[in-house]
Symmetry: C2
Subunit: 408 residues, 2 copies
């Protein structure tokens, strides 16, 4: 914008203020001056700048939804954060405004070529009423990586995080003050250029919306049974399985429906000729063997989950069993189950923290996964529960830990 | 909608018209009656019905853009077709209305999980002023397959095609009457439910927009040089490489940019340890060897292109060389080039028909692909050109063929 203002100024100079004799040299000099001003200004405006945030408060606040009525990702707060990006001049001023529709031309690239990536993190209210976030810098970094993979613009993560905090502070009344409840925060970046040509977008919109959510399992843990998916593949080396781009998700629904139709709660993703385990539904996957905890390695085809990272860190700090990031095949799981060496299995993710697994249907076989041998009525194994309790304790500030960031 | 009306009717019955003694049995009876009415009605309304189309003509038609100013997918016509789908009652009435923005909640699933698939086909104006489409039934069928792969609703292809024709007829003035020019038609289906849960959408929007386009190469053919992509992989068996879903496209841009930065016009997609050729940019790929034309088989990881299918059909009907759908590796292409057995290579797609290839940069090697040995200044090999001329002849109705469908 200022680019054009300066150009106009330059043009208007010539006819009006000609007391000194106007020379081509002077024109050139002034042009250089203005161009460098413009460049500096563009540089200043290129990245997200929290100091330039504008806040338009909603005049009609919605009624808060009671905790018992919350369904994941269906209720949204009063405001949203919008930041537009243009190839010519970078990121525009961040705007917090009433939660409202996004209106785009039908040719907007996000509708055709999936220029879209997102993040998911939560804000918690602790016993002292303080707002806490959980390892938000990991989400900001991954958001950046996801954007880069699909050629969406990069941004200053720290400035974006400041804007995010501003929004969360404004929506404080929406953060449920009950253990197990939280405010789910969804930063999203979409390509909005009006063009059917396949190429990098010249225009983008970053927005953040917030949704109050309840515990994944309303009545405590419910161990799930999985159907191993053998027809479809979630991701592959050189693809996009390690980033949170929209394109990874819609194709997951078919195997999910197939699993549900056969009575399974989720599908288990496999890869390769030897049926390596990769993910479970939209979660990372862990197997606890005798003396070893195994999760697939970050080889480019699985998502680097924040919860996954926490579980590995906690397990290593406990130093009670071997902690491995390595390939694990269905054949190994099957044999371990047969020989009593499979102790527990679970999925991990931001939505559920951990999700205990009680069985896998795999190529006609039913593999039973133990839960709690001491208490068969329990819906979770003891280690799985320990991860859940520890992580929740940290998230709600009951266990002091640097992962939990208090919002100032 | 009617479902709710009936329910309301049912409720209002009870308090008001109680002359006969109201019994649970009567309630049940009435409920059955209303439910079956609703079911019948739902059945009637479930699919797309061209007879119910509503047309709202634009009051301010845009000026037609001169052919010379057309850029692919940037100019759009005056109207668009919209058909909404709801899980409860299926497809609503098709509506043709002025081309306008699509307004969705920021939580609409299309923005987060890439519930989006599309098609691309063209309308041509022949010498007699007749409008012609090219094998549109193939696009309708593939559109259906794409939708199914990402759990979007199915539809009656024939009824949708009737609606599409209605739109094209209305936009007749936008179809350029010049050989090489056409009206690009873009049917798109998106999931619009307002939910952050990953699962099948309960609400969708099918829309069709149209864009007048020029020839892919304004000054005749321009043979392209390719950079073989070895870091990223486009698709995988069990993935979505054989359907036109949005998620296949955004991740393609990074290798495209890498190719462009090194001076290549497109990237060549490879697969597997032996570097099989799969696609070129967003096109199918053909190699002409001595006595054999080779294109990768439809093994689930490449798109079943309409132009690809035409080329195979034409080549087989010519019966001059062997026509193979088989795996072809870079090593085979390299050896063939070295031994003078590589005659021509080209990409194929709706946008360009064919795109001649003059070279491939592959793992440090430059593989030269011959163009026309009789006329080195030509930008295309003779067989490549023959495919282009034949297909264009059919598309513009100069060569009579059942592929070209005159719009009545």
């Amino acid at each position: 914008m200022l680019h054009f203002v300066s150009k106009r100024l330059l043009c208007s100079f010539r006819p009006r203020t000609t007391r000194v004799k106007w020379s081509p040299a002077l024109t050139a000099l002034l042009q250089v001056h203005f161009q460098s001003t413009v460049a500096a200004d563009n540089n200043n405006r290129t990245d997200i700048d929290h100091n330039r945030i504008k806040i338009h408060r909603s005049e009609r606040l919605k009624p808060i939804v009671p905790n018992k009525d919350l369904v994941f990702g269906r209720i949204f707060t009063d405001h949203m954060l919008n930041i537009e990006w243009y190839k010519e001049n970078g990121w525009h001023d961040p705007i917090i405004k009433p939660y409202d529709k996004i209106c785009l031309e039908p040719s907007a690239m996000v509708f055709h070529y999936s220029f879209e990536c997102f993040e998911g993190l939560k804000a918690y209210k602790d016993k002292n009423g303080k707002i806490r976030l959980f390892r938000p810098e990991m989400n900001m970094k991954r958001f950046q990586r996801s954007a880069a993979r699909i050629s969406l613009p990069s941004f200053n993560e720290k400035e974006l995080f400041k804007c995010l905090k501003e929004l969360v502070r404004l929506e404080e009344r929406w953060i449920p003050a009950e253990r197990g409840f939280s405010l789910y925060i969804r930063p999203t970046l979409i390509g909005t250029q009006e063009s059917l040509g396949v190429g990098p977008t010249t225009r983008s919109l970053l927005f953040i919306i917030c949704s109050p959510v309840g515990p994944y399992y309303k009545t405590g843990f419910n161990a799930i049974e999985l159907l191993a998916t053998t027809e479809n593949v979630r991701a592959w080396p050189g693809g996009t399985g390690d980033v949170k781009v929209g394109g990874n998700y819609a194709p997951c629904v078919k195997p999910q429906i197939e699993a549900a139709e056969k009575g399974y709660q989720q599908n288990l993703w496999l890869f390769g000729e030897d049926d390596e385990i990769t993910e479970v539904g939209t979660m990372n996957c862990f197997a606890l063997l005798k003396n070893e905890q195994v999760t697939p390695p970050l080889d480019g085809s699985i998502l680097a989950g924040v919860t996954r990272d926490c579980i590995l860190y906690l397990a290593r700090s406990w130093n009670e069993f071997k902690v491995s990031e390595r390939k694990i095949t269905m054949s190994e799981v099957k044999t371990a189950a047969e020989k009593g060496r499979l102790l527990e299995m679970f999925g991990s993710g931001t939505a559920c923290i951990v999700s205990p697994i009680k069985g896998i249907h795999y190529r006609g076989l039913n593999i039973e996964v133990p839960l709690d041998s001491n208490n068969p009525s329990n819906q979770t194994g003891p280690i799985t529960k320990r991860f859940a309790d520890t992580l929740m304790g940290i998230q709600y500030g009951e266990i002091p830990h640097e992962w939990s960031v208090v919002l100032n």
